[in-house]
């Protein structure tokens, strides 16, 4: 008798993904859906789709979904969670959405410690609009709007989002993962699941940055795109846990923040 070892997660609908071949958006969708299945939360989860290639995420995830204006997903998710404190609320955002037009919403949802989970797809480019410079585009990266490469003297420097957010007291979990190998996919899954679990426990704001590919706008084959990610993206955006209040021994962000305030008041001595 044969056993089914690979099934479509229940939390994904039957709708066909609209992503380009080899795009990592699809992998991350699957990980989020598997997480909802495993935690048994599809029926109590509300997801927020951004503006970007994943705008149609509302068709793909089986949970209730809201489509938000460009960059505003954290504000929408904030209100959803305040209105539905017993539900799980996540937002799925690209780098243009999260780190450029929506940076204010991102930072403030994080610092308020909103009990939401952000899945952040960092592909160093604006995918949907055809490959323009993103806030996370690398130095010297050629894009449609940096045809001579990103000149940091002109366009400034890329933003390391989880490092920046990890300085905020409201953040419970800030972790960067990638999905270039089966091993890393499994690690990414563990991180995403942990973020959702922290939300359910009410620990605080959680964000998982997924270093991703955009083969189409990078102008590379899916395999070459993964190699480019390893050679260029990962050195600049190292995977790792940048903040984890539970691993630091605290039950939630309020406890962690109080301890930090004490530490700072003590002139840095612990």
């Amino acid at each position: 008798m044969s056993k089914i070892v690979f099934e479509r997660p229940h939390s994904l609908t039957d709708a066909q993904f609209s992503y380009c071949p080899g795009c990592t958006h699809g992998i991350v969708h699957r990980l989020v859906a598997e997480t909802m299945d495993e935690l048994g939360i599809e029926g109590t989860t509300v997801g927020v789709a951004p503006v970007g290639c994943s705008v149609l995420a509302y068709e793909f995830f089986g949970c209730d979904m809201v489509q938000a204006a460009h960059g505003r997903a954290p504000a929408v998710a904030t209100a959803l969670k305040r209105a539905l404190p017993e539900n799980v609320v996540f937002a799925y955002q690209g780098d243009g959405d999260l780190a450029s037009i929506g940076m204010a919403e991102t930072v403030h949802a994080a610092t308020r410690g909103e009990k939401i989970t952000i899945i952040f797809i960092n592909n160093a480019i604006y995918g949907m609009t055809g490959g323009q410079l993103a806030p996370t585009s690398l130095p010297d990266q050629v894009t449609q709007t940096s045809p001579y490469g990103r000149d940091v003297n002109e366009a400034g420097f890329p933003i390391r989002v989880v490092e920046m957010l990890s300085t905020l007291d409201g953040v419970a979990l800030a972790q960067r993962v990638t999905v270039d190998t089966p091993k890393n996919v499994r690690a990414a899954k563990r991180a995403i699941k942990k973020a959702f679990e922290y939300q359910v426990e009410g620990v605080g704001y959680t964000i998982i940055e997924v270093v991703s590919t955009c083969p189409t706008n990078w102008g590379l084959s899916p395999v070459d795109a993964l190699q480019w990610l390893r050679d260029n993206m990962l050195p600049y955006y190292p995977p790792g846990v940048y903040k984890d209040v539970k691993a630091d021994g605290f039950a939630n962000v309020a406890e962690a923040a109080a301890a930090r305030a004490l530490e700072l008041a003590g002139g840095g001595e612990v």
Binding site: V46, A69, A75, T78, A79, R82, A83, H108
Partner: protein, 351 residues
């Protein structure tokens, strides 16, 4: 009670438990009142990082099926335009309060009615309208906010209360409504499907032009129903009026006393006060036009609503405009002078 506080208390009594704001003069008392009252009602008061975030929070809370509100003044409403358009596109109810001040730009902080175009024409991008209610007393602030939430739910549309700094700061006695206890069901809301239905989606994106057109057509059919049933205007001494003055909100208060003074002088003047700015009370104004010899529109701006009046009057009688801008409230005396000038020109057979 102060106008701004009446707006807040009435919203709470209408079942609003989600308020998202950002400080701006002259509506600050409203937010302060909400900050004090909401926690006691088990509601949420949240000071957002910007007006953009605040309106998107209204979007989120409304998507979850809750009664939600935001308030601001002119420059802040410009920022809310994006979110209001998304609410209209996603057919989400919600209440937006604009306690207007003079513009454009940072303008000033004195009362104004210069956001009439913005409220009735182009609050944001795309084909859509808001229902716009214009109170002229603190009692009306109370009553219209209460009503706004019902209208928003019934027609699944954002509703705006267009007030101004004068009304917001004004103190008048009010009778508060009994708190609302029954609310319409919202089967479209995202509350988690609990495995009992297919997933709900709150969305304004329709990539197929035919589908997007369909949603627009459906919305405009709803607008037709609103126009047919929700037009509201107060008529004051218009039965035999030869000069009909049209004014809303704060300026209608000045016009009312100017009309009384004109009557004392034997001039047959009357006032039509649009209460719904959208839908515009075309029926009342059209009927009054049939009997009038001239129409005067008085506004605290450079002439905005007068365009709508002209569309209704359609050349049947002359339409004049008088307004003060920049936060200046016209006086009854200067308004009376305009009415007298019109009366004289009618008498002199100037036409």
């Amino acid at each position: 009670m102060k106008g701004n506080e009446a707006l807040a208390e009435a919203a709470i009594r209408a079942g609003c438990r989600f308020f998202f704001g950002y400080p701006i003069t002259p509506q600050t008392e409203l937010a302060a009142y909400m900050a004090k009252r909401m926690p006691k009602e088990g509601g949420v008061y949240l000071q957002a990082e910007s007006e953009i975030a605040a309106i998107n929070m209204v979007y989120g809370a409304s998507a979850a099926g809750k009664r939600a509100m935001t308030s601001s003044s002119s420059p802040g409403i410009s920022l809310k335009g994006e979110g209001i358009s998304y609410m209209a596109g996603a057919d989400l109810p919600g209440v937006i309060i604009n306690v207007q001040r003079g513009g454009p730009g940072l303008g000033g902080i004195q009362p104004s009615q210069s956001d009439y175009f913005q409220a009735t024409r182009a609050t944001g991008h795309g084909d859509f309208h808001l229902i716009v209610l214009a109170p002229s007393t603190v009692q009306e602030m109370t009553d219209y906010v209460f009503r706004a939430f019902d209208l928003a739910d019934e027609y699944r549309t954002p509703v705006m209360i267009l007030a101004d700094g004068m009304l917001g700061q004004m103190m008048e006695p009010v009778v508060l409504p009994e708190p609302k206890t029954e609310f319409p069901a919202k089967p479209w809301a995202v509350t988690g499907h609990k495995g009992q239905r297919t997933h709900n989606i709150v969305n304004s994106l329709h990539l197929k032009p035919e589908r997007l057109e369909e949603t627009n057509v459906e919305r405009y059919q709803r607008y037709d129903r609103i126009k047919a049933t929700e037009q509201l205007a107060e008529e004051y001494r218009v039965e035999d009026a030869e000069i009909v003055v049209v004014a809303f909100g704060a300026s209608s208060r000045i016009v009312r006393s100017a009309v009384n003074k004109a009557r004392e002088k034997g001039i047959k003047a009357g006032l039509i006060r649009p209460i719904t700015l959208w839908p515009f009370p075309a029926d009342a104004i059209s009927a009054a036009t049939d009997r009038a010899k001239a129409i005067l529109t008085v506004e605290m701006n450079m002439g905005q609503m007068v365009d709508d009046v002209r569309l209704v009057v359609c050349g049947r009688v002359p339409v004049e405009f008088f307004g003060r801008a920049g936060g200046i409230i016209p006086t009854p005396a200067e308004t009376l002078a305009v009415i007298e000038r019109i009366a004289a020109s009618l008498e002199g057979g100037a036409r």
